[in-house]
Symmetry: C2
Subunit: 236 residues, 2 copies
């Protein structure tokens, strides 16, 4: 088994991909499903999200860390955790995470949304289905590498390497070094440029919530053949 | 002063850029100038390099680590070190390094070719001329992050941070972690995917040659306004 880490989303992906945007899209996505949402629709643009509004459909997302006008929710896992989404479809659009999922979804078949909270479960799901290669796609922030995503990729690599023998690329080597440099996940997320920015916006609690490794077993997975135009559908 | 590390070449650069392709283009480029070359012309394609052949002009470059048919030299610092290039112009085209220089040269004004061998001198030159920001552009290998370049960027960051107070981005944080994880430069370069590939091609001596930090003070710099079409001119 080969294990590859893209520190930013890359052009082409193998069958099995773990998409990571730990602050906060892939963390929040899991919480929507934990709190009862039937499915998630990750759109390619905020405009497409607004078009999908309808009965039983709620909109969540952010730009620059803040809620998008006309959306029902921001991109906050704590906000999501306080609500009940039973039977709802949540349409998501965020600055980095939903775009990374679309890049991965172009060629990937088994696409999972991974975060620190579901890291062990996500690694297990990917390992169970992958044949030759697992790719981890870090979303980054505004086209730049994000320490928080590379750190999370390092945690995923540790789990995957403990599950079976894998050959790793330089991206995985770098992610493992970043992970091993900072044992405390909260320290890693808080010291990232994006973590600092969220704290300044008064969203430090979201950073702390996102920094709890393997406290959830729910892994959003791309529902094949169930996309709607301009959106990828993820289910639990 | 801001310090930014791009783990792969990015779209737009500030005035001052250090381009890193330690295995082997930026290492070899310095050696050509040390061995007397008057200037280097880094072309955007091998075809353009062949067109520039002429009196007093030699061609050096590689594809897949091997010399390009019709070129005079490969991309080997050891081969370059054994020759005398006094008064010659060396036209270079390589898989990753010359392309990274062209990306940096599009918006960068003070563009330096940095390697481990000239790391301290390159950091000093960049620090002396930069006003607000220094960017380090890692060339990578075939569009993928290269551990060897990120490691070298980490060494450059250490020097730059010792010279004055700088604010760093997540790319620089990651490069510093990679550097600190592996104190021995030869171990870092040899364990990279590209270092392993060169060793398999029988070019392990080039890896060892490239892994000698700050043994040279020569830093190739972009000669402003002296480009020829399809090529950037670098001088010492």
């Amino acid at each position: 088994m080969r294990l590859r880490v893209d520190l930013l989303p890359h052009g082409s992906y193998p069958d099995t991909v773990l998409v990571v945007d730990v602050l906060r899209a892939t963390t929040t996505a899991s919480v929507y499903l934990e709190r009862g949402a039937e499915s998630l629709l990750l759109t390619s643009s905020p405009e497409r999200a607004l078009e999908l509004r309808g009965e039983g459909v709620l909109l969540g997302g952010e730009r620059g860390g803040l809620p998008i006008p006309g959306f029902d929710f921001g991109n906050s896992p704590i906000e999501a955790d306080s609500q009940n989404f039973t039977g709802k479809v949540v349409v998501m659009n965020t600055t980095n995470g939903t775009g990374a999922a679309h890049v991965a979804g172009k060629s990937g078949k088994h696409v999972f949304l991974a975060s620190l909270r579901n890291a062990h479960a996500a690694a297990r799901r990917a390992r169970a289905i992958a044949v030759e290669e697992i790719a981890i796609a870090c979303a980054g922030t505004d086209g730049r590498v994000g320490l928080e995503d590379v750190y999370t990729a390092g945690v995923l690599c540790e789990y995957l390497m403990a599950m079976s023998s894998v050959t790793i690329d330089d991206g995985a080597r770098i992610a493992l070094m970043v992970r091993r440099n900072t044992p405390d996940p909260l320290e890693a997320l808080s010291s990232s440029t994006h973590g600092i920015a969220l704290d300044r916006l008064g969203l430090g609690e979201d950073v702390r919530y996102s920094a709890q490794p393997s406290t959830s077993t729910l892994v959003p997975v791309l529902a094949e053949g169930q996309d709607v135009e301009g959106a990828l559908r993820f289910v639990k």
